[in-house]
Symmetry: D2
Subunit: 345 residues, 4 copies
Amino acid sequence: MIKAAVLGATGYAGIELVRLLSGHPEAEIKILGSKSFEGRKISEVYQNFNHILDIKCTELDLDEVAKCDVAFTALPHGASKSVIPQILERGVKVIDLSGDYRYDDASVYEKWYGEKHSSPELLKESVYGLPELHREKIKGARLIGNPGCYTTCSILGAFPLLKSGIGEHKNIIVDAKSGVTGAGRGLALQTHFCECTENTKAYKVAVHRHTSEIEQELSKAAGEDIMISFTPHLIPQKRGILATIYINLKKPCTQEEVLNVYREFYGGEFFVRVKETGALPETKHVAGSNFVDIGVVVDERLQRAVVVSALDNIVKGAAGQAVQNMNLMFGLDEATGLKNAGFYL
Amino acid sequence: MIKAAVLGATGYAGIELVRLLSGHPEAEIKILGSKSFEGRKISEVYQNFNHILDIKCTELDLDEVAKCDVAFTALPHGASKSVIPQILERGVKVIDLSGDYRYDDASVYEKWYGEKHSSPELLKESVYGLPELHREKIKGARLIGNPGCYTTCSILGAFPLLKSGIGEHKNIIVDAKSGVTGAGRGLALQTHFCECTENTKAYKVAVHRHTSEIEQELSKAAGEDIMISFTPHLIPQKRGILATIYINLKKPCTQEEVLNVYREFYGGEFFVRVKETGALPETKHVAGSNFVDIGVVVDERLQRAVVVSALDNIVKGAAGQAVQNMNLMFGLDEATGLKNAGFYL
Amino acid sequence: MIKAAVLGATGYAGIELVRLLSGHPEAEIKILGSKSFEGRKISEVYQNFNHILDIKCTELDLDEVAKCDVAFTALPHGASKSVIPQILERGVKVIDLSGDYRYDDASVYEKWYGEKHSSPELLKESVYGLPELHREKIKGARLIGNPGCYTTCSILGAFPLLKSGIGEHKNIIVDAKSGVTGAGRGLALQTHFCECTENTKAYKVAVHRHTSEIEQELSKAAGEDIMISFTPHLIPQKRGILATIYINLKKPCTQEEVLNVYREFYGGEFFVRVKETGALPETKHVAGSNFVDIGVVVDERLQRAVVVSALDNIVKGAAGQAVQNMNLMFGLDEATGLKNAGFYL
Amino acid sequence: MIKAAVLGATGYAGIELVRLLSGHPEAEIKILGSKSFEGRKISEVYQNFNHILDIKCTELDLDEVAKCDVAFTALPHGASKSVIPQILERGVKVIDLSGDYRYDDASVYEKWYGEKHSSPELLKESVYGLPELHREKIKGARLIGNPGCYTTCSILGAFPLLKSGIGEHKNIIVDAKSGVTGAGRGLALQTHFCECTENTKAYKVAVHRHTSEIEQELSKAAGEDIMISFTPHLIPQKRGILATIYINLKKPCTQEEVLNVYREFYGGEFFVRVKETGALPETKHVAGSNFVDIGVVVDERLQRAVVVSALDNIVKGAAGQAVQNMNLMFGLDEATGLKNAGFYL
């Protein structure tokens, strides 16, 4: 059994990790780290865990973490950065759900996060934890920068078209819609039920940090540095991201030609489901599961592909992907503990 | 492996059965019966099952069903009645999710359902599938009348107080609130999103069929025939029933005394969680899981207990309880395939 | 034109007052009091008011309030009590939306609110602002204790049956469901969108303050002190309260006999709509309007009436009723500015 | 008083017309046409109208319609086309909410709607009822093609940038999100509450009819025929459309320069509210009102403007705009009966 610590266990990404790990046949939760709820049972904080998991939340104790095989850090960015080097020193692998270790280049981090990176040397070692793109590196890594929710959805949606050389590098638009769990459990007026229900809005237009993460990975596909428009929206549901991605085509292509690019690229992937012509992803199809669904419509009038991708922001966009990474790092079947169809209802 | 047929697989109770059975370590789905979607893959009808389950839906074929060990009938009442005798004849156990085989007495069925019962002799044999009350009978049964959603919630909430002799038999009020999955997938104006969201209403006041089912079981607790007020309400959420139950106390009791009645009655039950004083059930705590949560407040001013019970109407109120029954009928640990904390988010 | 001050204008009851008063043909908003948003335009705080109302929020200035004809105090209880005597001294009428001036007897207030009442002499003068019961007194009042949301719904639902002598005084149960605006705009985990959506729960069972207010008024109907069970629930919608009220009947009555009691009692009332047999209130029918809808089902099996009443908690349950009171106090047609059908959608 | 007929009164656009007209000081509803509910009071079909409006729904009777000054046709497209010529013959002005009379060119209609236009001669006369663009023509019209919901939002959002010559004509993307009232009251699986809540999806990508309507008007702004990408999405709320519009800039511009284009273009418009830098529209700000809110972010990195526009799809996107058109056609102040801030809550 893999002994796991979840630090930041009582936030939404954290508790989703707890949900997934508590049903994982090869992992065992040893530590639930939580500042806010130190000393309280997780089954009091999230009462759905009563009769399932009764571990108490604790403040960070590095000696205890040292007894684990892996630590998931579901902490705010910055907080992750300050504790992770000490965990690694103790020989414990780390999967970090913050933005701190997702970048190849510290200067990009510093530009978009507005602060110095305190351990840029670790950035060289850390692996961007998107298994569909970096599987082999993940297997050997001791530090994973687990991708953001918007970014996983956007990158997986756009990558094949750029990699194949069919998609133009300019005028790429990613218009993304996210459920409210993406905003976390902290209290804020914008997540008050009465402010949030029956409301849709765009936010952080042109300045959202995930832009830089998407650009980093898509530039690898394109073979040159590219820039994109990324617009996040908040929609009145709990789970789910839907990204609508607009990419011009270098030459006229049919729907089938473009779909084939996706079918080939994701042929062997369990967690990526490419839709047949006529079907498109819906967030309901992926809620609660680790799948990413991708559909394509080629607008021949405009010589443009409209790619729609969907995932559950706290599963494939956070906790589920973290478990997928853990499976890879510990030599398990990648889908262990993640083979389910989600809720639908 | 238990070979299972799910008849009526594409309704909401049916698809929840499919969700639970597809993750069950000792069961295997062999048949998905569906009139409406005959010939189509379940993963097209419910696209969340893509990459998980690709069986095609079929029309009822009794010869095929005969190869299974158990058939779940998630059909409208009446439809169940007409097919079940033929399945039983073929030596296949049946767990029926309709109201057809829940009654001890055909005349009660006929009064509340307004039609003749075509196989009253089977009513004598069929077992009311509420494991917390009828576990031993369930183990040996070949036909289970799986309880209704409102009824499971109401009966488990009220039973201990009546059984213990503390609760009065008159003036029992069950005020129940249900999510919309309870109304099924059929199209109706009242389940149109725009009619349903931001709306709460009572319906079928004093005449809902589940009244008779609750009375049947609570009369066993009381030791005499009792009648109750049961009022169902539709609330704007998918999953969950919350029943608020008012029972006068025969003599002054403290909160702890009444809670102890529940603690003792449900002491060994995995799927019933009795809340401590100060905590009360919420539908969110049980969404997606097979748990029933029960909390009690004693109103000493009025010598009355207010019992609050909550469950997920399509899990413990339908599909989950059916799987629990299957586990018992096939000698498995009752919680096999059902040991999870639900979604919360 | 009636010059009006709204103190506490940026809470949910306050802003609903602003909405109603800004469309009122005989009233003019002069002051918007808000501590939190002092100095900011109301159209920045609630951007829906842009191009409609551009007044700035101000901190309380009694000299300015003195220039008004009426002040609405939509402040937390306690805060109301401390400022209202000073407003009255300046010759300004007050309609208080808190619980501070709703009681005939200071000791009841003190018992349920857990604090001393600082101006018990004003309680003698203040009028309970439920026009359907106290219209004449309201016309002459200078201080109105505007009823609570749950209480308006519950009292109007139960009053006729008790007043008529048909309803029993014992075993009255009020099971009420409220939308989330009732919890106000303040930040709390329980009103976080992700905690609130897809969730229903009971709270403050047997101890909610509105119990005492309901009992005060229903005791007048009954002609003796009565006690009731009152259970509030939080449901995942913004607006609306639905109260399901159980009252035993002293003798067997038909549905029509009981309905006639309601038809007669509310015969002349514009804002109370008694449903015909077969129809029942839904919160959607009253959302955004000042109506209370009441339906009745007589359960002849149990000799019990189930009364269902519904209103919009921030209109008839707060701001709308306050405007109705203002209309009466200033000699206007009671329905001025309130004659609309609400939103439905 | 303007005597008005509402044909198709019981659909969502129809009933919103009824809501607005029943509060309009200069209009009087004379006829409520409804096939489905013929003979029934509108207050039974939409019970919120009880005590407000008790007219019975009738089947179409042209002689009765002839007594009106204006007829609103809120019928499915096609149905409108077949009845409108006969109404016009009787000297009654018509405001048509379907797509039948929105086009300058019958061939565009026929291409996108897939059917012959039966009265192409009327297309020459009919005026596209977007007052902010065609006010003077509307004043003199006897037949208005009332714009679609998506189209009003998209056109008003993009028009100034194209008209000013700053926006490029290629690579215009309109990514629009709509509430469910836009899908109408008809029953369909996709509008079932349980399928719709917690779900977001794109639909009719690259083929939605409103594309042609948007292109028709934006081509006028551009001075040449342009084509755009238009992607509609369904989001889990009742009311509201948010359109996120991407337009490349011909030369580098600052945020203020682009905002000034909007401020100038909409300077005198009551129903268009241009947001200041830092603020962006939200559907909640326009729910229930006739306003369109528009905000702009200039992404200097990409030399691209991201314009966000929002409106209530059944008010400014349908019934409210129809009333605005009626006001203009009958010489009233354009905002008569429409000067309110909407609900927010």
